[in-house]
């Protein structure tokens, strides 16, 4: 019995040791990776246009399909480049790029909005590359009977002051809020620019993890209201005008429709040659007018207005 116990103790001890060793290994690996990318990109500076090396990107699942598609095309053009795109969410992307685990961190929000307080220092090291714009529209179940909502009406609905569609001129139907989780980038954008205030989750409200499920729920649930990126809109849901402005690409570009946000690709410090070539390719007209538009985003370089972290909009 005694020897058995000491055996187990020994195992536990070894495992703790192995654990700390793992931690060290992790650090070594990243260092080695950086060395690799540095080494592989160094010759390219001398040779000129051709770039090679590997790029690892992670983060926003909303941005992932676009980055993947552009990465495919970029790899076709540059045989020596290998790009891996992972999801995980904006928070994951920002954490990993801040800790140099990945080369690019994709995010739906400004890094300063996620990396706050103790992590604020980390956000300073990150360099922002705004590659596209995503606009978000309020949508309702088709039978709600409302075409347009004012900002105040939306605030009252999402804070629970208005609970029936007839109070805003629609059918006599209870309003069912279908939200995204509090940490979602889409929700942050909608709250910041459509409502102008953060909202608490209300009892009885529904939260869904993905925009696809939100669309399905809004289309099926009588009296439902929610919000979706423009690329998700179709006839199964009713798109609501905001203060009378239609959420169309033209209105977003001209700055008339305010509920939009940048899609960011963050690098830690200035990018190396390979990453820079990829990000530059992202901003070419070929990609911006091709893939970006095709997947329902709005080209960043088309925007006639720009916006900073604090939300101040300026004309370009």
């Amino acid at each position: 019995m005694r020897s058995k116990k000491s055996w187990i103790m020994a195992l536990a001890l070894t495992s703790v040791l192995a654990l700390s060793a793992c931690g060290n290994n992790g650090g070594n690996n990243t260092a080695a990776n950086e060395g690799n990318t540095g080494a592989s990109s160094a010759p390219t500076e001398t040779s000129g246009a051709e770039v090679s090396g590997s790029i690892l990107a992670s983060g926003s699942t909303a941005l992932q399909p676009l980055v993947e598609q552009v990465a495919e095309k970029f790899m076709e053009k540059n045989a020596g480049v290998d790009i891996q795109v992972q999801g995980g969410g904006s928070g994951t992307g920002l954490t990993q790029v801040a800790e140099k685990q990945v080369d690019i961190g994709n995010s739906d929000v400004f890094a300063e909005e996620k990396l706050k307080d103790a992590d604020a220092e980390k956000a300073k090291a990150l360099v922002d590359h705004q590659v596209a714009v995503v606009a978000i529209a309020a949508v309702s179940h088709p039978a709600a009977g409302v075409d347009t909502l004012t900002k105040q009406q939306l605030v009252d609905i999402f804070t629970g002051k208005i609970t029936n569609w007839k109070e805003v001129g629609g059918a006599d139907q209870k309003i069912q809020i279908i939200n995204r989780p509090a940490s979602s980038g889409t929700r942050a954008t909608f709250e910041k620019f459509a409502l102008g205030t953060k909202t608490e989750d209300l009892p009885g409200s529904i939260q869904e993890d993905s925009s696809g499920t939100v669309k399905k729920m809004i289309g099926e649930t009588p009296g439902a209201i929610g919000y979706l990126a423009l690329s998700y809109l179709d006839d199964s849901v009713k798109t609501l005008n905001y203060d009378g402005v239609e959420p169309s690409v033209d209105n977003v570009v001209s700055g008339k429709y305010p509920v939009w946000a940048y899609e960011h690709m963050y690098t830690n410090g200035e990018p190396n040659a390979t990453v820079k070539a990829f990000l530059d390719y992202f901003l070419t007209d070929e990609v911006q007018n091709g893939d970006v538009t095709e997947l329902g985003y709005i080209p960043a370089n088309k925007m006639q207005v720009s916006r900073d972290v604090a939300g101040t909009v300026t004309n370009k």
Binding site: S183, S205, Q207
Partner: protein, 308 residues
């Protein structure tokens, strides 16, 4: 294996005193030890990792333990952040218990059917069906729940169909195979003489099942129920799709609610490592893990009582 054999041969030729079976013994033993070590290392490191992150909510972010376990306001990103996890803990327990209540009678009846009523074709037919049920991915359960159960509940009951009832229904189907297969095992290991003496005394089949078979196998059947509850408690995706995820203790079965797993999957990807929100999610993961330990402990206790 071949490499090992070659090595063995070489060693054998150089040192004739060491027999082949000694080497085999050594190789076998060191391989086993390595496997056990690997298992223990991974378990210990998981426990260590989850615990160290989980307690940082209380150690670093200074959230009081009673606020976390008994607070009902969950607003991690608000202007005045608040980390009350009671709605999620309550949601997990309510859905798990409901699922076990729905699934247990069904599973026990199915097991009795397969072992006592129609052991022949009943088992041949039901066994593959139940094994198939356990092989279906949880996202499929969730999607079926969202497309079939939720609209059904919406049409029949008040509310939007989404909520604890939908979550419990989906979970009950998911844990059916676990409870059934454990119950089948328990029933088929029951000594025949118990049953035969009952019949010899003139008891009917129903009396035998109700008075002899079920009481004797109850601890084993309960093991199955607890294992099923453990599965239900840890299931994330399917529940998250149908439960609605509002961070409140529901007042009705048809009102949107949350579980520990659903709030973790909703928030984990969108929060940054080390932020108070993220730490609070890790604390919930810790609660989940401790609950799993508790379930395992209960199963062990039940097994001790299992003496026929």
């Amino acid at each position: 294996m071949r490499v090992q054999n070659n090595e063995t041969m070489r060693v054998q030729s150089s040192k004739s005193r060491i027999e082949k079976h000694h080497i085999e013994d050594l190789v076998g033993r060191s391989y086993m030890s390595f496997c056990v070590l690997l298992l223990i290392v991974s378990i210990v490191s998981m426990v260590y990792f989850v615990t160290s992150r989980g307690i940082s909510t209380f150690a670093i972010d200074k959230v009081s333990i009673s606020d976390f376990f008994f607070g009902t306001t969950w607003s991690p990103e608000g202007d005045h952040p608040s980390f009350g996890a009671l709605p999620f803990i309550a949601g997990s327990f309510i859905t798990t218990l409901l699922a076990a209540l729905i699934a247990s009678p069904l599973s026990i009846c199915a097991a009795l059917f397969m072992t006592e009523i129609v052991p022949g074709w009943g088992k041949k037919l039901l066994q593959p069906v139940i094994e198939l049920l356990s092989g279906i991915p949880s996202v499929v359960y969730g999607f079926v729940g969202l497309s079939v159960i939720v609209p059904f509940l919406r049409n029949v009951f008040p509310g939007q169909g989404i909520g604890v009832a939908a979550g419990a229904l989906v979970l009950s189907v998911m844990i059916l195979p676990t409870i059934t297969s454990v119950a089948v095992d328990a029933l088929s290991t029951l000594p025949r003489n118990l049953k035969e003496s009952s019949f010899a005394l003139g008891a009917t089949r129903w009396q035998t099942i109700a008075r002899v078979i079920i009481p004797t196998t109850l601890p084993a059947i309960m093991t199955g129920v607890v294992l099923g509850m453990a599965r239900a408690f840890g299931e994330a995706l399917a529940v998250q799709m149908v439960i609605g995820n509002a961070p409140f203790i529901p007042t009705s079965l048809f009102e949107s609610a949350s579980t520990l797993t659903s709030v973790i999957t909703l928030g984990m990807g969108n929060t940054t490592m080390g932020s108070p929100h993220n730490n609070a999610l890790w604390s919930m993961a810790l609660v989940l893990m401790l609950m799993t330990f508790l379930f395992v402990f209960v199963v062990r206790m039940l097994e001790k009582r299992r003496s026929i």
